[in-house]
Symmetry: C2
Subunit: 355 residues, 2 copies
């Protein structure tokens, strides 16, 4: 069945009236109402696992702005935690895994979690959101195996990726074993999100850009392709569930990324949207890719940049407007509002000029 | 006149017996003898401005490894300091400019420094090094105007580049004024380095990769092209002085970067060397681009990766071996030694197989 929403239609390259928009990290610290709930929840993970609060936080940006999709509020690291790793978020330091994965023994202790048990609160949030959202589509998500593995092997955030790269070069079999378990775990998790009501899913490969091309192909792209093969692509409502793949800093690989079975490629802002479309043709839709820093500029500049980006995309469908990366805590919600309005207005005009 | 050294010859795409190698940040914290001198010098800037110590630090890696070039030990931020900005290096926080450039008034206070006065100690280091180095060529360097401007406008290191990007979008004229002064200052500084004995110069654009393509072209590439136009390309010894341009994260722009007048493009490790050569042909030589993390791997893996990289480059000259980014403090000098030996051995064999 064909979906009705502009967002899902654009993902599947079906005709649309105008360009849909959602924003990576649209639920987050730039919103004062988020900061209120965040301090009420205390620990960040408490917020992720609290159905009432996480549902509310997901909906906050949609109350402010006429966005075309909601994205589940959660964290990519709930999967390694469900696999049995001990996870903490410490203030100022970010996520910390106290027992990083370095040996075959560490890997043997990881389990493939049953999401209905281990991630039940997240799935409950998905169920609730789907009920409340009505016509607005809900995006589920996961980190890519490579990106999740960086945290699991490094023991937290990293700049240099010393541990995982040493493993990749010295003992690629070990890394592949971690990635294999992640492929199965992430596929099950995304399928559970789809069963519970996610109408599209995005796979974030935040750290694919630190890899050389051969390694990116082998350790990031291949596992993502294996996940996509395992996904139930028709949701409970009989509508096709688009898969969006976003790999930051990997624009040079677009042609190959377009072949892994996803419906949409997310672009960061260092890739030219029009040229990206030339390179991938109609094989995939494109999502992105305004430089997030444009939100530090004046309303006039925001409108101009939106207009130029929309106009540079040459096809009447297959573009989902987004930033090239997530919203930042110091961004002004007023500017976000101007951005969303500008996309809606300018793309409606563009639609008319095409007809 | 044609240079004799393998490094300079490869930069100018003249026939060579084997592939030359030097390493970004080859003088630095991974060497215990560097750490000794660093603690003797106290403040990091003291070290940069101390002819005896900076000369010694430049030479240290050449005593350990048969590298094909030396690179002046200094910091890119000596230029903004010479322009009148107050600079400090605080432990753990990196460089801090206490009065960042935000207004036209701030810009008016910047001066174009006469390097023979304001940077006399650095030029003395160049002079000394050239005397000591003999046949080994000396590389001078500078940051690119865009990269220098990020520190000057942000007031130090940055992750998000909020201030300078806001300026770029809201008031590009202001940013261009800063870049204009930097173009003149950097060109004078590099010409002074050449006069004093630098036989090649590298322009580092560490932060070009945070820009969208249009902005990279306008605010990074254009000022660099203007610097290159102003350089004395024949050194005091009548030999051509190659210009190397290294822009991290900008591999998508190779074709345009090859047109700005440089002799060599430095590549980070996310660009495939063979494909890069296909794209730029014989217009420029290529420098790079082993993933620095290969140095965390075993000797066998280092040798294999070196061999593969050398073999992937299809031309008998025009390749200068380097890492795709600088050496890290936690790298093992023993592994660096294995790397340098592997490049010398494997590329000599390669040279023979070509003949």
């Amino acid at each position: 069945m064909e979906p009705k929403s502009t967002f899902l239609r654009a993902c599947l390259r079906l005709p649309v009236e105008r360009t849909p928009i959602w924003l990576m990290r649209q639920a987050g610290r730039y919103l004062p109402e988020y900061r209120d709930i965040r301090s009420e929840a205390g620990d960040f993970l408490n917020l992720c696992y609290n159905p009432k609060l996480a549902t509310e936080v997901t909906l906050q940006p949609l109350r402010r702005f006429p966005l075309d999709a909601a994205i589940l509020f959660s964290d990519i690291l709930v999967i390694p935690q469900a696999m049995g790793m001990s996870l903490k978020f410490s203030v100022g330091e970010g996520p910390i895994f106290s027992n990083p994965i370095r040996t075959i023994k560490d890997i043997e202790e990881l389990e493939v979690p049953n999401p209905e048990e281990k991630l039940a609160p997240v799935l409950e949030i998905v169920t609730q959101l789907r009920k409340i959202l009505g016509e607005t589509p809900l995006i589920g998500f996961s980190g890519s195996p490579w990106t999740l593995a960086t945290y699991m092997v490094e023991g937290g955030s990293s700049k240099k990726f010393h541990q995982i790269k040493a493993m990749m070069y010295n003992n690629p079999m070990l890394l592949n074993q971690i990635l294999d378990i992640l492929v199965i775990s992430v596929a099950k998790y995304l399928n559970a999100q789809i069963r519970h009501g996610a109408q599209a899913v995005q796979i974030f490969d935040t750290w694919g850009g630190v890899l050389a091309p051969e390694q990116f192909r082998e350790f990031s792209l291949k596992p993502v392709a294996e996940i996509i093969k395992r996904l139930d692509r028709i949701g409970p409502d009989k509508v096709r569930v688009p898969v969006i793949f976003f790999a930051k800093g990997c624009g040079y690989m677009l042609e190959e990324m377009a072949e892994i079975g996803c419906d949409v490629l997310g672009l960061d802002w260092t890739t030219n949207l029009a040229k990206a479309h030339q390179r991938v043709g109609h094989r995939v839709a494109l999502q992105g890719n305004l430089d997030p820093s444009v939100l530090y500029a004046s309303p006039e500049v925001i409108q101009r940049e939106v207009f130029e980006l929309l106009n540079s995309y040459p096809s009447p469908t297959g573009h989902i407007f987004n930033l090239g990366h997530g919203l930042e805590p110091d961004m002004d919600p007023e500017r976000v509002s101007i951005l969303v309005e500008a996309v809606h207005q300018a793309s409606s005009l563009k639609g008319k000029s095409i007809k």
